[in-house]
Amino acid sequence: MINYASREINCKIVYYGPGLGGKTTNLEHVYGKVKPETRGKLISLATETERTLFFDFLPVDLGTIRGFKTRFHLYTVPGQVYYNASRKLILKNVDGIVFVGDSQAERMEANLESMQNLYDNMSEYGYDLTQMPFVIQYNKRDLPNAAPIEDLQAALNPGWEVEDAVKHRVQPDPYHAGQNLVEQVSGGEWVERAPYFEAIAVNGDGVFDTLKAVSKLVLKALA
């Protein structure tokens, strides 16, 4: 939303993913690192055991662009399958999505289920995830049972077909040398993948890279 009266650009970013994957940890790290004058309170609607019940919310000011204050509202959703009704509510009017996947091999099924759930919930609102700002974060890269990135990419970010011929040109991945976000695969069709980031959210690795990437995509989508 662009508010010309208060000269503000407000955007909503939602962190999605399976339970205990690190969504809240991402927000807590951002909260702890940005200057107090550029962020609001971190609100957590959580159970007594600190599992997210409804959402976490953190407003962050990124700076000024063309005289407009850019404010990002970061939300997490509850990861547990049980809470789908409240999870879906948070997606309403979202501008950008971060999928926080759990790298542990035994969480692959939970990752896939959550990704499918994300596509389903977006589609119920009439939003096309492949056409909007969307990045994937593979969290917990430090754990010994973390699956290889190639396996995670193959399962969670295999790419979607690019139908528009105008977009049939190689688009290098700015975050990974030698890889492409848009490319022609062996079958001949063109596919596009979401940008991905490796992270260890608990000590902050990759948290700001992810946030920067999705925020930039959101602002460029407005341009």
Partner: protein, 164 residues
């Protein structure tokens, strides 16, 4: 299917009209403060006095509260609950839907009654609905009234924002 979510922009003229309307409403009902919040939880504007209120958090929680109640309404076979009322010992809030896009939140205390707020609310909703329909009829978010896009060609500036 749309590519993204509904974007919209809000001009100085919209702001002036909405502020005038809400100021009149606050005076007539002796309420403290009115907040206009979009359904995604972003604050559009505040009119009146709300000392110490964290309006950003308030807006976000209001939208979540209203959305949750919307779903509760559906579970009991209603399309929606057109308004919500939360009564406190000193302060109370009344939340109403505007054109299925925005929420109007009125904060009031014992200087008035929920009956008076509710009574005047119907006319206020009609007035604001007309104003808001005008905002949304202008179309996509980035466009200023003249059709110019605020962030067009701003890629460099956007990149600079992220030089943390």
């Amino acid at each position: 299917m749309t590519a993204g979510t509904a974007n919209w922009s809000f001009t100085q003229d919209d702001f002036t009209s909405i502020t005038e309307s809400l100021t009149r409403f606050l005076g007539e009902t002796k309420s403290l403060c009115a907040l206009l919040v979009d359904r995604s939880g972003q604050l559009v504007t505040t009119v009146g006095e709300a000392p110490g209120l964290d309006t950003t958090t308030f807006a976000s929680l209001t939208a979540a509260d209203y959305s949750a109640n919307d779903q509760l309404a559906k579970l009991v076979g209603e399309t929606d609950f057109a308004s919500l009322f939360h009564q406190g010992e000193k302060g109370s809030i009344y939340v109403a839907d505007i054109a299925r896009r925005l929420l109007l939140v009125i904060i009031f205390d014992s200087r008035t009654t929920v009956g008076l707020v509710r009574l005047r609310m119907k006319d206020e909703i009609e007035e604001l609905t007309l104003l808001i329909d005008r905002v949304f009829s202008r179309g996509r978010g980035g466009a200023e009234p003249g059709g110019h896009h605020l962030l067009e060609g701003a890629d460099d500036e956007i990149d600079k924002l992220f030089n943390w």
